[in-house]
């Protein structure tokens, strides 16, 4: 079961957050800073799964942006890892070469996309690259190149 889904940048600013279980609003910022701290302290050779309190955190870094998903024990970590990448690929298609700037400015669109891709913490429908309700459906072919290089950091 996914507990939360966060997109946080290296300075600790939250770009997107969705909690699937109720967490008090003051606790949320605390949680986010702690999570990003543990992710930042990892080096490249370490694995992407961290044990944090009673969750497991699965994170992936795309340039300056961290996407972190908190799950409980029953999830397949590697599937979630794939799912994160899939989500980013959907964004890439929608924004054509998405960057953190796009992410920060389009919160509503992001939420809708996330809902399409993962309402209620269950990944579905990720593969046809459909976007938020109301937009035309676009089924695109995937390219295989690694996504990491194409995310650009904001100018300021």
């Amino acid at each position: 079961m996914i507990k939360f889904f966060l997109m946080v940048n290296k300075q600790g600013q939250t770009r997107l957050s969705k909690y699937y279980e109720h967490v008090d609003i003051n606790k949320r910022t605390l949680l986010e800073t702690e999570v990003i701290k543990s992710c930042l302290s990892r080096s490249n050779e370490q694995c992407s799964f961290i044990e944090y309190k009673d969750f497991k955190l699965i994170y992936r870094q795309y340039a300056a942006l961290f996407i972190v998903v908190g799950v409980n024990d029953t999830e397949n970590e590697m599937a979630i890892y794939e799912f994160i990448h899939n989500f980013v690929e959907v964004l890439d298609e929608y924004f054509s070469r998405v960057s953190e700037l796009d992410v920060s400015f389009s919160t509503t669109v992001l939420h809708s996309t996330r809902h399409r891709v993962k309402p209620e913490a269950e990944p579905i429908d990720e593969l046809p690259k459909t976007c938020s309700a109301g937009e035309p459906q676009e089924a695109c072919c995937l390219t295989d190149d690694s996504f990491r290089g194409s995310v650009s950091t904001p100018i300021c």
Binding site: T14, L16, S17, K18, H22, I25, N26, R28, T29, S43, E45, Q46, C47, S48, F49, I50, E51, N76, E77, M78, A79, Y81, E82, F83, N86, S104, F105, T107, T108, H111, S112, H115, P119, E120, E122, P123, I124, D125, E126, L127, P128, A133, G134, A139, C141, L142, D144, C156
Partner: protein, 825 residues
């Protein structure tokens, strides 16, 4: 009022803020503008304002005043309004707010809307934050939508149904008919969500699970879908790095796992497909590994055939050799889960696992450590211990405590020799001394007393260890205790195992005094040291005056504990000098308890206080002016204090219970028959209720007093014989030794013997020799039962046997009536 700014403007403004305070200011200004706009009931800009509010909510600022506005947006006819409204509802509202019930009607209308996107929005929101009342009201609508032909709606309805079931489990049956056709869809989205729905139903209700297994033929359907996925060629819509819809594959595997658990037929049906997935999936990319991982988990959980299990473990072994950390972590986690059941298979990968201990990654190290402890057995103990000690040296502090406890446990179970055991423990104490758990100290002391022949060696090594450094408290405590006990061995220089060192009494006292004085010593450690010094007064010959001086100094110490001890010891020197040597005698060997947890140690005669093994202050420590009687009472009290039951924790004793006072007559302090009997008992007169001087008598008093043995139980190849002995000292006690033997061709494992006697008797079960009855009568399990029969009634006993034989658990009850009269008369 000017038009409120757009969301993008707001975001841009906030980004220019350089400090947290600036940001807060901007947000407060904007919040105020939004609030006044809400008050004006402005329809055109409401959507924009709520969007901004949601952004601010995400940053962590309170946004509760927007909840009603969200409702108004939902009720509006424009799609853009509805969209933001529903999003706001999902983010801001939940069951706790009463406002959410107002949404129910809106959602109901929208569920029947003509546009599918609006219906989709409503389903999404209901599935996200619907409370149980809302779900109850709207479940019918959801169910209707589950049956439509529109796949877009169907998949959303399925997810919504999952949420409804979670909130209101009673509604599960309502969705059952709709699920019949769900798996016949072509659309992967619908397939995926249907599998999720089915998984949820199966997890929640065992009835549903049984239903799906038998009636719906779910397993063949799933197998068919999975096969299509694997066999089908490249399909651009569903492809992720060369594998077709891995997410669906993983979901199906998970559902298969639930269906196959504990069910032979289902497991049979899926054996082939699992083997196929396991062999055909490409492992070069993470996607393939994710699927393999799920497959391995499934194979482990269902009743798969052994070939498949071996395949699964080999896959995990391959993962371990992979360079990618994620995969190694995942492999270690799964191996940990399977090590109990497939121990041998995992042993093959032991060297790789031990290598992982040296990895840089903290999560991997932790997993590798746990797995290493699980893999330790009698054969590899020496090698493993070397690695583990090296790990203990170099690991992070958060691991040290766990590692130390694990090492102690493993050493206790599999130590090849006493000397090795003591060496290992010393090594742990010197490397990670401060992280060792508190209960390790008494365990260690018990271990040392039990290995009588190693006393000299031990005390020598401990002395050398604290010579250099006495900051690690557990080490110092153990050392102080040992030096106090065996100081005479130390100075006499008799040590067979090692080069004896020349130590004078003064040097020993020096070190103990420095421990006392040192700032690093805690008050517990100081207590140990003071008691040790006192004990040495009987063991050492020339330095008694020095000891007296030290003890009297501490009579005015600030620390109450120390002061009390010192004052009492002083009293010993002055008034009770005649008793001093008796009181400070060597401790007898302590009884070993075969539990895994912290052991409780029987306190026997020997000291004036139950310290140092208990850290609470001595019970009503007698004042120096008290009478001799008080001291004796204290001694007597000591002997009666908690006597632990000697049966291991896994065996509840009979209805008579493991009565402690039953055995007031029988020697409890005696070690198991193999260890040497304890040191001489003190010469003071003992109160009558004490053990009748049994401490030097062996446990079994009458060998072959001529009572015939009986066969108590003989069935299915298991035979249990009772042999009897009567206690010399107490005619009401009968000691029965049972011997269990097995004449079949397979061993019986996890053998547990339990007995019950009528109320007039009392029963105590001691620990058995082992829990496996080997086949073909090659060996037996021996266990001792003590029965107290004060009324000399005819002995009767009901016995219960549980064991595993030929893979199945067996249980039997029997009554034993054929006790020979000599055993109870």
């Amino acid at each position: 009022m000017p038009a409120p700014i757009r969301l993008r403007e707001l975001i841009r403004t906030i980004r220019t803020a350089r400090t947290q305070a600036e940001e807060r200011e901007m947000i407060q200004k904007e919040c105020a503008a939004i609030r006044s706009s809400f008050r004006e009931e402005d329809n055109t800009y409401r959507c924009r304002n709520v969007a901004k509010l949601l952004y601010m909510h995400m940053l962590g600022y309170p946004a509760h005043f927007g909840q009603l506005e969200c409702l108004k947006l939902i009720a509006s006819q424009k799609f853009t309004d509805k969209r933001i409204g529903y999003l706001g509802a999902m983010l801001l509202l939940d069951e706790r707010q009463d406002v959410h019930l107002l949404m129910t009607n809106c959602i109901k209308n929208d569920l029947n809307h003509s546009t599918q996107f609006v219906q989709g929005l409503a389903l999404c929101t209901l599935g996200c934050m619907g409370s149980s009342e809302m779900c109850r009201d709207l479940a019918g609508e959801v169910e209707k939508l589950l049956k439509t032909s529109n796949s877009y709606l169907r998949k959303k309805a399925a997810l919504c149904a999952v949420h409804v079931i979670r909130k209101v489990p009673e509604l599960m049956e309502m969705f059952l008919p709709a699920t019949k056709n769900l798996l016949n869809e072509k659309n992967h989205g619908v397939l995926h969500t249907s599998v999720v729905l089915l998984t949820e139903m199966c997890e929640r209700s065992p009835d549903m699970l049984a239903h799906f297994r038998k009636n719906e033929k779910l397993v063949p359907q799933l197998v068919r879908i999975l096969k299509n996925l694997i066999m089908s060629g490249y399909s651009p819509e569903h492809d992720v790095s060369g594998i077709s819809d891995p997410f669906l594959q993983v979901r199906i595997l998970r559902l298969l796992r639930i269906l196959g658990r504990n069910d032979d037929d289902s497991s049979e049906a899926m054996n082939d497909i699992l083997a196929q997935v396991a062999t055909n999936t490409e492992t070069s990319k993470n996607v393939g590994n994710a699927i393999l991982y799920e497959t391995v988990l499934t194979i482990m959980d269902i009743k798969s055939e052994s070939g498949l299990r071996v395949l699964a473990i080999n896959i995990l072994g391959r993962f371990l050799l992979n360079n990618d950390k994620n995969i190694r972590y995942v492999a270690l986690t799964s191996l940990l889960k399977t090590v109990q059941t497939d121990h041998n298979a995992v042993q093959r990968h032991r060297s790789t696992i031990v290598d992982c201990l040296k990895d840089l990654d903290v999560s991997i190290k932790r997993r590798a450590m746990e797995l290493s402890f699980a893999l330790v057995n009698g054969n590899n103990i020496r090698g493993m211990m070397k690695e583990l000690l090296y790990f203990l040296d170099s690991c992070e502090p958060e691991f040290k405590a766990d590692c130390a406890s694990g090492i102690f446990l493993a050493a206790e179970k599999y130590a090849p020799s006493k000397r090795w055991h003591i060496d290992t423990i010393m090594r742990v104490l010197t490397t990670a001394g401060s992280y060792v758990r508190d209960d390790a100290v008494p365990n260690l002391i018990q271990l040392i007393t039990n290995s009588v022949e190693m006393h000299a060696y031990t005390v020598q090594r401990l002395y050398k260890a604290i010579l250099g450094d006495y900051s690690q408290q557990p080490l110092v405590q153990v050392a102080a205790w040992c030096i106090g006990e065996y100081g005479d061995l130390l100075v006499s220089g008799q040590c067979e195992e090692e080069e004896p060192i020349q130590v004078t009494e003064d040097e020993v006292l020096d070190i103990l005094e420095s421990v006392l004085i040192s700032n690093m010593s805690t008050s517990v450690t100081r207590g140990y040291a003071l008691t040790a010094i006192m004990k040495l007064s009987t063991r050492f010959t020339c330095t008694v005056n020095r000891i007296k001086k030290v003890v009297s100094i501490y009579g005015s110490s600030i620390d109450v504990e120390l002061q009390q001890r010192a004052v009492e010891y002083n009293a010993l020197f002055k008034k009770y000098d005649h008793m001093r040597s008796a009181l400070l005698e060597r401790m007898p060997v302590m009884e070993k308890v075969t539990t895994n947890g912290p052991t409780e140690i029987v306190q026997t005669n020997g000291e004036t206080e139950p310290a140092p093994l208990e850290t609470k202050p001595p019970p009503s420590g007698p004042q120096p002016t008290s009478q001799a009687n008080d001291l004796l009472d204290l001694l007597g009290g000591n002997d009666i204090t908690p006597v632990i039951p000697t049966a291991p924790t896994s065996k509840p004793a009979s209805a008579g219970g493991e009565l402690l006072d039953l055995l007031g007559d029988i020697n409890l302090t005696g070690a198991p028959a193999t260890a040497p009997t304890p040191a001489p008992v003190p010469q003071i007169s003992q109160p009558p209720f004490l053990l009748d001087g049994l401490s030097s008598q062996p446990l079994f008093n009458d060998i072959a007093a001529g009572i015939p043995s009986i066969t108590a139980y003989s069935k299915n190849g298991l035979k249990i014989e009772f042999t009897f002995e009567r206690s010399n000292t107490n005619p009401s006690v009968t000691v029965i030794t049972i011997q269990a033997s097995n004449s079949t061709e397979l061993d019986m494992t996890d053998f547990v013997f339990q007995a019950a006697v009528p109320k007039t008797f009392q029963l105590q079960l001691l620990s058995p020799s082992s829990s496996i009855v080997p086949a073909f009568n090659t060996g037996t399990i021996t266990q001792v039962i003590k029965v107290l029969n004060p009324q000399k009634q005819q002995l009767r006993m009901r016995i219960k046997l549980t064991y595993n034989h030929k893979g199945s658990a067996m249980q039997d009850l029997a009554e034993v009536n054929n006790f020979p009269p000599q055993s109870w008369q």
